[in-house]
Structure formats: C-alpha cells, structure tokens
C-alpha cells in the first residue's frame, strides 16, 4: 500500500496527459503569438458568426470583450442585490435583537438608534457584497470549480496559461466544419492548430458530485470531524482547568481527604486557644475559691434582675439546692445533698465566690458555665442573697414587711 503510494508520487511529466480521452472531438484550438493577432482573429471569428467559441489568454486583453461581441459582465447585479440584502439583514438583526427580542437598558439609551447601528450595517453590506461577488463570479457566471474541462491538461492549456494566446471553436457550434475552421485560423496567422478531444469522464452522464466514493468520503470526513471535535471539546471544556467553568476547584470539601496536610485529613481541629464568639474565658478556672477576690457583681439590683434570677434559680439550681436554698432539692437522695446556702460560711461569702462555684464547680457540683450565661449567674446570685436575707431577716426587715 505504502509502496503503491510512493510509486504514484513519481515525477509527473507535464507531457503525460494521463486522463483517458475519447475519440469524440470537443473543438479545434489555435495558438497565436501576439496580442494583435489574437484580437484580429477573435473579431474575425465573431464576424463569421460563430457563437460557441472562446479566447484563451494568460491575462485579460483590453478590447477582447468587444472583439468577441460580448456584452458587459453581469456580476455587478448580483453584487448589488446581495449587498442591499446584507445591509437590510444587518439592520434587521440589530433592530430585532436590541429592541424586540431582548431589549436591554444600556446607559438609558434608546433600544434601537440608527447612528450606532451604522458601522455594523456598513460592514454587513460590504461582507455580503464581497462574498456574493466572488461566489457569483465563480459559480454562477464562470461555472467554476470545474476540473474536468476537456481543455485542462492539454498542451494548448499549458501554452495559454503562460505566454501564448489561443482560440477554441467547439464542435457544438452550428457552423462548425473542421476544414473551414482550420482555414479561418490559419488565415489569421495561427502558428499551431490542435484537436481537443472530450475526456472519457465528460461523456458519462454521471454527475461527479454524486459519485459514491466522493459522497462516502465527504460523509466519512464529516462524521470523523464531528466525533473528534465533540470528544475534544467535551474534554477540554469540561475537564481541563482553567477552561472548565470552575467545576474542579482547589478547595477542601467537608469530610474529604486533603493531600496538603501531613495526616491527610481535610477536617482540622481548631488552633489551640481558639474560643467561640462571645465566649469570655474564665480566668480563675480550676483554682480554689479563695483566689477569687476581684469579681464583683456587675448587675444592679432591680425587680427585673431578681425576677430573672428567681426564674433561672428555679430551673437550674433548685433540683439540688431546693427552692429556698436549704439543700433539700427534689432529688431526694439520688444525688448527694448540697450544703445549705444559709450557713455562716455562705452568708459571709462574696458574690464572686458564688460566681466561682457556679462557673467552676466545687466538689461534686459540676460547672454550670455551659447552662447558665454570665449575666444570668449574677442575677441568680442576687436572688440567692434575697433567699439568704429572707431566712435571716433582721427586725428592720420585718417592720418593713408590715
């Protein structure tokens, strides 16, 4: 297979016209040496009434259109029509997108305004004109691309695309007569006359466009291109950082591993000494209550404070200490009885000592810092004082009560 390929890429001798030719004559071709000769010849052929003929030159000759009796080219009509179409389409696009489909308020400006639409409209006009001109000229008027013209690969074509001028009169012309045509050519000074035959492929009626191999190749290429594009784009646009819409991110999700840390754990404990918001660390934690000398009750005594203190005492303290501080809470022996709050020791205690016991705990009593907020503790302490006073009332207090 490879050998065959390499063998076919041999030196191509321009004299080898390898396309198979039929025996059917396409036309007679004559070659001329100078521009004046070809112009005269062309005008003679026109005068004689031939219509199915053409002149072949390496570059356009001035006046040849006239000499051949040709009318002006019609490419301009196509260009103009499609140019105007382009202009209208551009304007329509801008107008529809900006004021009908999704009117977007930009700087308070009107949705559609002609002056800013002009640059794009202008470019659209030019684009359509240009494309129409090129495609119209090639496909519509020149019937190109056309690779199997009988003239391609002939010796005539090689001359005519380089430095000689030629005329071909085709056999399909009504007036075509081989001898007469040859005479006409020679009378105008042709230095060479060649017979051009149809190619085999010209005589078959199969349209090359619908050739099975060609269609197969097109479809195959299409499928292959589509598949490769789809798979590549799918990969690149969704899997390759940073084009992947931030689907892959360099972050640690909860409870996932992380290669960044030595123990590979994504979940980390807080740094030593971290406190919760609003947390006030208790500086006397774990110390004996005798060290507590600096704490003083920040709350003023008021009905509200006392009611709060009562409420909280009844919830948190009463199960062990009882409703009146006697230590006869409703636990009834399930938990060791606390000492009474009306002992001499308790009466002499500072508020700070009570605070320390609530916050730190003492002996069997655990710390109530989690359950009772700081302000509530001071309110409870005020209430304890009230209870103490109630059990150790002076005569003055009794008089006031009356």
């Amino acid at each position: 297979m490879i050998k065959k390929l390499i063998a076919s890429i041999k030196e191509y001798d321009t004299k080898d016209d390898t396309t198979p030719r039929s025996k059917k004559l396409f036309g007679l071709a004559a070659l001329y040496n100078t521009p004046n000769e070809i112009i005269k010849a062309a005008s003679e052929v026109t005068e004689k009434g031939y219509e199915k003929f053409d002149v072949y030159t390496p570059y356009p000759l001035h006046g040849m259109d006239d000499a051949m009796g040709m009318k002006s080219s019609k490419v301009g009509y196509v260009s103009f029509t499609l140019g105007i179409t382009g202009m209208l389409l551009s304007l329509l696009m801008i107008w529809w997108m900006s004021s009908v489909n999704y009117p977007n308020i930009i700087g308070g400006k009107p949705f559609f305004s002609l002056p800013p639409a002009i640059p794009i409209t202008f470019e659209g006009t030019i684009l359509f004109t240009g494309i129409a001109t090129v495609l119209g000229m090639l496909i519509l008027f020149n019937q190109l691309p056309k690779i199997n013209s009988p003239l391609n690969d002939t010796d005539f074509m090689k001359n005519v695309s380089s430095d000689k001028y030629g005329i071909v009169i085709r056999t399909e012309d009504n007036k075509f007569q081989e001898a007469e045509v040859k005479k006409l050519f020679l009378s105008e000074g042709a230095y060479d006359i060649q017979e051009i035959y149809f190619r085999e492929s010209n005589l078959t009626t199969k349209t090359p466009l619908f050739d099975k191999k060609f269609i197969g190749a097109i479809i195959g290429t299409g499928i292959l291109t589509a598949a490769i594009t789809y798979l590549t784009l799918n990969y690149v646009l969704y899997s390759v950082v940073p084009f992947d819409w931030m689907w892959e991110q360099a972050r640690i999700d909860s409870q996932s591993k992380s290669s960044f840390f030595q123990n590979k754990a994504g979940m980390r404990p807080p740094v030593n000494g971290t406190v919760a918001r609003g947390f006030i660390p208790y500086e006397f934690k774990g110390m004996p209550d005798s060290s507590v000398k600096l704490l003083s009750n920040p709350l003023a005594v008021s009905k509200k404070t006392l009611e709060r203190g009562q409420d909280r005492y009844n919830i948190y303290c009463s199960p062990c200490h009882g409703y009146f501080g006697d230590g006869d809470g409703r636990l009834k022996g399930q938990f060791p009885k606390p000492p009474s709050l009306h002992t001499e020791k308790s009466l002499k205690w500072e508020d700070g000592n009570f605070y320390h016991v609530i916050t730190n705990g003492q002996n069997v009593m655990p710390s109530y810092a989690e359950q009772v907020k700081v302000d509530d503790r001071w309110a409870i302490i005020h209430y304890i004082r009230t209870l103490q006073r109630s059990k150790n009332a002076t005569d003055e207090d009794m008089d006031k009560a009356k």
Partner: protein, 466 residues
C-alpha cells in the same frame, strides 16, 4: 485621445524586457526550489519568536492577565497597542491592491500580491489580541450575536463590537480578494509543475481555471467590484478601531480627528512595513527588475504624504487642546511631551514626522540603504504612537489620586515579539509556497502586452449576410 499620458515619462514597469516565460520562471522559481540557507535562518529566527509568543500566550491563558503589566488605571496597554499596530499594517496591503487599482496606478502590479498577503497575515496576527486580552479568552464566542444560554445579545452600540464585525469582514474580504487573484496564477503553476502532489493541489485550488476570456470578463468585473468595496472597507475598519478610543471620554482620546488620523497613520505604518520587507525580498529572490526602484520611490512618496498627515494631526491635537481651554485636555498633551513618558513621545515624533522629511530629496527616495533605515524607523515610530496614545491618556486622566505608572512585563514583551514571529513566519511560508508577484497582472502591464488595434466586429446573422 488615448489615456496614455505620454507627456510624463513613466519608468517601465518591468525592466529589462523579459519574456512572459522569463516572468513565469523568475516568479515561480521560489516555489519550485528548496529553501535557501538564508530562508532557513530567517525562518529559524521567526519561528523561535513565534514559539516564544506561544509560550507567553500559554502563560497568559493559564495564569490570567495578571501576567501582563496592566493595572488600574492603565487597563489597556500592550495588548491593544499591538492590535492597532497590526491592523494598521494590514491596511497598506488593501490600499496597494484596491485603491491604487481604482486609481489605475499600474505600478501596483509588482507589489500588490505581496502586499495583500501581508494584509492577511497582519490581520490574523492582530485578531489574536482582542481575544487574548480578556480574562476568559476561551469564551470569545460570546462576542458574536449567537443565541446563548444566557439569552442575551451583544451590545450593538459598543465600538468594541463594531471592531468584531469590522475586523472579521476585513479579513474575509481581503482573503477573498487575495484568493481570486491567486486563481489564474495557480492555474499557471498547475500547468508547469512536475510534481504530482503539487499538480493535484494546484488543480483543486485553481478551480479548473481555463484562462477563457469569458471567464476573464467576469473575473475583471468581480475584481473591480472587490477593489471598489475594499476601499471604503479599509477606511471604515481603522475608523472603527479609532472609535474604540474616540467614543470614550478620556482627554487625549475623545477627539473627532481620530478617524482620519488613524487611517492616515495606518497607511503610513503599513507602507513602512511593506517597504521594509520588499527591500529585503526583492534582493533575496532576484526580482529587482519586477519590484523596481521606481516602485520603492513611489511608496516613499506615499510615506512622505501620509507622514505629514500624521504630523498635521499631532499639531492639530495640540492646537485644539490649547484652543479648547479644557484643562484636562491641555494637561494630557503637556504630559505627553514633557511627562514621564516623554521619551516615547519624542521617539514617535522624530520617527514619524522628522525623519521622513528626508524623503523630499529624490536622492534619498531612490537610495535603498537610507530607505531601509527610514522605513524601519517608521515602524518603530508608529508602534510608539499607539503606545503614547493609549498609555499616556490612561495613566494620568482626570483624578490625580488615580494616576499610576505602567511597566510592561516580560510576558507582554514576549507576546509582542511573538506577534512579529507569527507575521514573519507566515510571510516566509507564503514566499515559498505561492507566487509573491501576481503573474497574470504583471504580464498585463508589460510593454507590448496589450493589443494596439481595437476592432469592433459586426456579428453576422444565421444566414451569413452582413
């Protein structure tokens, strides 16, 4: 009375009276022979520059625009400077192809094909920058008015969008213009090549062109129409590029002189680049009799003219800034000339206005070495013009607390070098693959190529009577 203008002595468009076969041989030879050592050296340099640019591009894509020197307030810098620079260079090609064709300046034939190729490669290089200067360049498709999942359309009032349409249209039309110009030449090459692969390729690309006059007639009309629409196209494209700046409110940008100023500047810089490359190419490929001193001299005249238009624009900007009494405008121009970027400003003025004045002298215009130096300076000066316009207006605008300096990073510079690499690589490939002079056109303007008699035959009717 013919239009020959015999009262002016025109230099022959092709010197030395070569035959058509000689023309074929000389022009097609580079495509049929292996590259020379000189070509390989040039290709090595340009492809290294291209690879450097590709590497910097990969860095930019992966790490983002932070790799560039852009900051607040200088949000546009090298990326947009390079964009405007390369688009401007492209305009000379269209001017030579289209506008000089419309003006029937036959001397354009020697340089038109090459200039058009330059346009296409310059526009390809330029088109990269607007896409890569965004944060997510892979979403560049959103620039086009295509239905999308967000259900929104683009903003048609923005010059940035006009740019999208203008540059795409410009590339398409230039490519088509260049393409149809190539068809007859590819046919010539098809008919003389001895390599089977090349024959297949040329046969396909030349679309079966048979050099028939009926085809030539339509071809010429299409060519004229394309030249006719390319002319307003080239004017509109750089006008739209200038609108990127002119429709803003920045002092130094918001001025009505920008469209003609930019177009003149584009033609100026483009001709500078064309001349630079042609001087080198004509020597290397032995085409000095096709791309003659006459061509270079005419191009130098155009350089002088457009250089003076650019100089006029500089002076006018200063005058209007003073005349307007607008303190911000006045400050911007004084800052340009005497501020921290004054070195860039004076490079610009000397390379664009002062040095080209040497072209008044015919001796200078026809001297190849001096011309080469001056046109390289023109390229430098025009790059700096865009630098001055963009960076100085941005780095010190209305509010002094927002002022900052701009410094390019190595990635910026790498991308600039890479853009030159891309341009020259494509150009070098073009030189070896396609004919760099339009063979059919040059044959058509040689002495003795056109007939001197103009018969008007009367067609006989089918009976054969006159």
């Amino acid at each position: 009375m013919s239009l020959d203008s015999t009262y002016t002595r025109e230099l022959p468009l092709v010197e030395g009276k070569p035959t058509f076969k000689d023309i074929d041989n000389v022009i097609i030879l580079p495509t049929e022979t292996k590259p020379t050592k000189g070509w390989w050296i040039a290709f090595g340099i340009s492809s290294s520059a291209l690879m450097l640019g590709g590497f910097c591009l990969a860095l930019t894509f992966y790490y983002g625009i932070g790799m560039w020197g852009n900051n607040q307030p200088v949000g546009w810098a090298f990326g947009i400077i390079n964009f405007v620079f390369w688009i401007g260079i492209g305009h000379a090609g269209t001017l030579i192809s289209a506008i000089l064709y419309l003006f029937r300046q036959k001397w354009r034939t020697g340089i038109a094909r090459f200039a058009e190729a330059m346009t296409i490669f310059a526009v390809m290089t330029a088109g990269i920058f607007p896409i890569i200067h965004t944060g997510r360049p892979w979403l560049g498709g959103y620039l086009l008015p295509l239905p999308n999942q967000n259900g929104v359309w683009v903003n048609f009032s923005s010059p940035l969008l006009w740019d999208v349409f203008a540059v795409s249209t410009y590339f398409t039309i230039s490519f088509l213009f260049w393409g149809i110009g190539l068809i007859p030449d590819l046919a010539t090459m098809r008919d003389r090549t001895t390599s089977k692969i090349k024959k297949t390729i040329y046969s396909v690309l030349s679309l079966g062109w048979t050099n028939s006059n009926r085809n030539w007639s339509n071809y010429e009309r299409a060519y004229l129409i394309l030249a006719g629409i390319s002319t307003p196209l080239v004017l509109s494209v750089h006008t739209i590029v200038s609108f990127d700046f002119a429709v803003s409110v920045l002092p130094g940008w918001h001025t009505t002189i920008f469209p003609p100023y930019f177009v003149a500047g584009a033609i100026f810089s483009g001709f500078g680049m064309v001349s630079t490359i042609l001087i080198l190419v004509r020597k290397v490929f032995n085409m000095e009799h096709i791309i003659t001193i006459g061509h270079l001299e005419k191009m130098n005249k155009i350089l002088l003219a457009t250089g003076m238009m650019v100089g006029y624009a500089y002076a006018m900007e200063f005058f209007i800034a003073w005349y307007s009494g607008n303190t911000f405008e006045q400050f911007v121009f004084i800052n340009r000339a005497f501020g921290p970027y004054a070195w860039a400003y004076w490079i610009m003025v000397s390379c664009n206005v002062i040095f080209p004045q040497l072209f008044w002298s015919k001796k200078v215009r026809t001297s190849i070495p001096i011309t080469l130096i001056l046109v390289i300076l023109v390229n430098v000066g025009m790059w700096f013009e865009r630098f001055v316009i963009i960076v100085t207006s941005l780095h010190r605008d209305f509010l002094p607390s927002s002022w900052a300096m701009y410094t390019p990073t190595l990635v910026d510079i790498g991308l600039l070098i890479g853009s030159f690499g891309m341009f020259f690589t494509l150009l070098l490939l073009f030189l070896k693959v396609l004919p760099l002079v339009s063979i059919s056109e040059i044959k058509g303007v040689m002495d003795g190529a056109q007939p001197t008699i103009h018969p008007h035959p009367h067609k006989s009717n089918s009976n054969g009577h006159h």
